[in-house]
Amino acid sequence: MAKPLPFDEVEMNERAESEPALLVDVDGFEGPLDLLLELARRQKVDLHRISILALAEQYIAFIEAARRMRLELAADYLVMAAWLAYLKSRLLLPEPPKGEEPSAEDLASALALRLRRLEAIREAAKKMGERSWLGRDVFARGAPEPVIIHRDSHYEASLYDLLKAYAQQRQIQFNSRVSLHKRNVWSLVEAREALERLVGHLSDWVTLDTYLVEFMVEPAMRPTVLASALSATLEMVREGKLTMRQDEAFAPVWVKPVADPAEAGV
């Protein structure tokens, strides 16, 4: 309210040049309601007893003065001026019989109420602004102390997980050992080649073990040599190159080259 008085300016406008001041004032208003409120304050009476008619006249005079000075006024201000001109004419004319439309008195009191409400919220905003703002007037602890969180790690592990981990680990170990032994596997191809070479030197029944003995230098090789040799032998029997017999279960396997493929058989 230290604000320059626009209402005075309008009246003074008749007498003196005050264009620059007025320009500033129009810019300073937050819309037509704000301007009306400021004009109303100039009446220096309680907003409850304000003369809306006088207020309307002052507003219209202000707007006309502003337009004379070719000030650019927002449409809002002009709309309000037009509405107030209408209200003024309604207030001056005798009231028509009760119709659909609200009476001029109702319109006037509604406007007064709006002004009072705006003033009330302005007052509230001012009071809020005057409160102690956090970070402006009052302050919180500048260096709050953090809550120290003791993390007590509780490890979860089940016996199942433990045994699984152990078994897997050990299995990887012996699986990798088997893969090392792969180099020591007597492959079927190797067995076949060896048998074919040997068969050429034979003429009579011989136990398979005898043929293979030179390949069985390592005990670890024994199963693979026997298995591959037996497979290769069976293959050669099928092809009619060998004949074989076994006297009883788990007894030595005998083999003999077939001189004449026609004699092939077990």
């Binding site: 309601l33 109420l113 509230a124 703002w133 970070g135 009052v138 919180a140 602890r141």
Partner: protein
């Protein structure tokens, strides 16, 4: 005149047993509450304090005693947004204000808009404009949302389903209010009938409410509102 710093505090640090044995040591509980309130970066609720105080401690009494104890000191215990915290005494702002790191000043329009949101919440943008008699720039609402003092509450069950705005606990904390009912001048506004809605407008607002629960005439926000830009576009379209 000044309250004694140790009123009602049993002298626990001497080797005497407290007189009433079934009540936990009040003085010690006060010290713990003091430490908690001092250390915490955020205000603490009675429940939060109670959970950290010795079993059976009378939290309300402790807070009352602490408030009195610190009432005239350089730091006070205050209740904001329903929780308790230490704040520097407001009369000392002149010494501390120098520390302020460029506190952003709210424009008059923003301050008024904030006040309308606070006193009339839940409130739509159209309603704010009706009270102020002027269009609200998008920037004003954005600035307020940025302060985190206001929030989008929901949508009014009305044509165009406009967004409703309300204040946040941060608003209460910033303005040192315990609850929205403590807004300054609320009684006067109520008395003048401005809050109840005996105003010549198409909306009727009872007492302001910043409760999370939506009013009867509010719908929840839609997912599309997670984009503030969309929100303002939608709103602009409504008017």
């Amino acid at each position: 005149m000044l309250p004694d710093m140790h009123d009602d505090v049993p002298e626990t640090l001497e080797d005497e047993a407290p007189e009433v044995s079934h009540v936990p040591d009040h003085g010690e509980a006060m010290r713990i509450a003091e430490a908690l309130l001092f250390a915490s970066a955020a205000p603490l609720s009675v429940e939060e304090l109670g959970g950290r105080l010795p079993e059976g401690a009378d939290v309300e009494k402790i807070l009352q005693d602490l408030s009195e104890l610190y009432a005239l000191r350089g730091v006070n215990i205050v209740r904001v947004a329903g929780k308790w915290t230490f704040r520097t005494a407001s009369d000392l702002s002149f010494v501390l204000a120098r520390d302020v790191v460029e506190q952003r000043r709210l424009s008059r329009a923003a301050m008024e808009t904030l006040a309308i949101i606070a006193y009339h919440q839940p409130v739509t943008r159209a309603e704010i404009e009706e009270i102020r008699g002027v269009a609200t720039s998008k920037g004003t609402i954005d600035t307020l949302l940025e302060t985190s003092w206001i929030r989008l509450r929901g949508r009014r069950k009305a044509p165009g389903r406009p967004v409703t705005y309300g204040t946040t606990p941060a608003f209460l904390e910033h303005f040192g209010l315990d609850a929205i009912e403590d807004l300054p001048g609320l009684e006067e506004l109520k008395g003048a009938g401005f809050i109840e809605g005996r105003v010549p407008s198409d909306f009727s607002v009872p007492l302001p409410s910043d409760a999370d629960a939506l009013r009867e005439d509010e719908d929840p926000l839609d997912d599309d509102l997670l984009q503030p830009l969309d929100m303002h576009q939608t709103e602009a379209g409504e008017e």
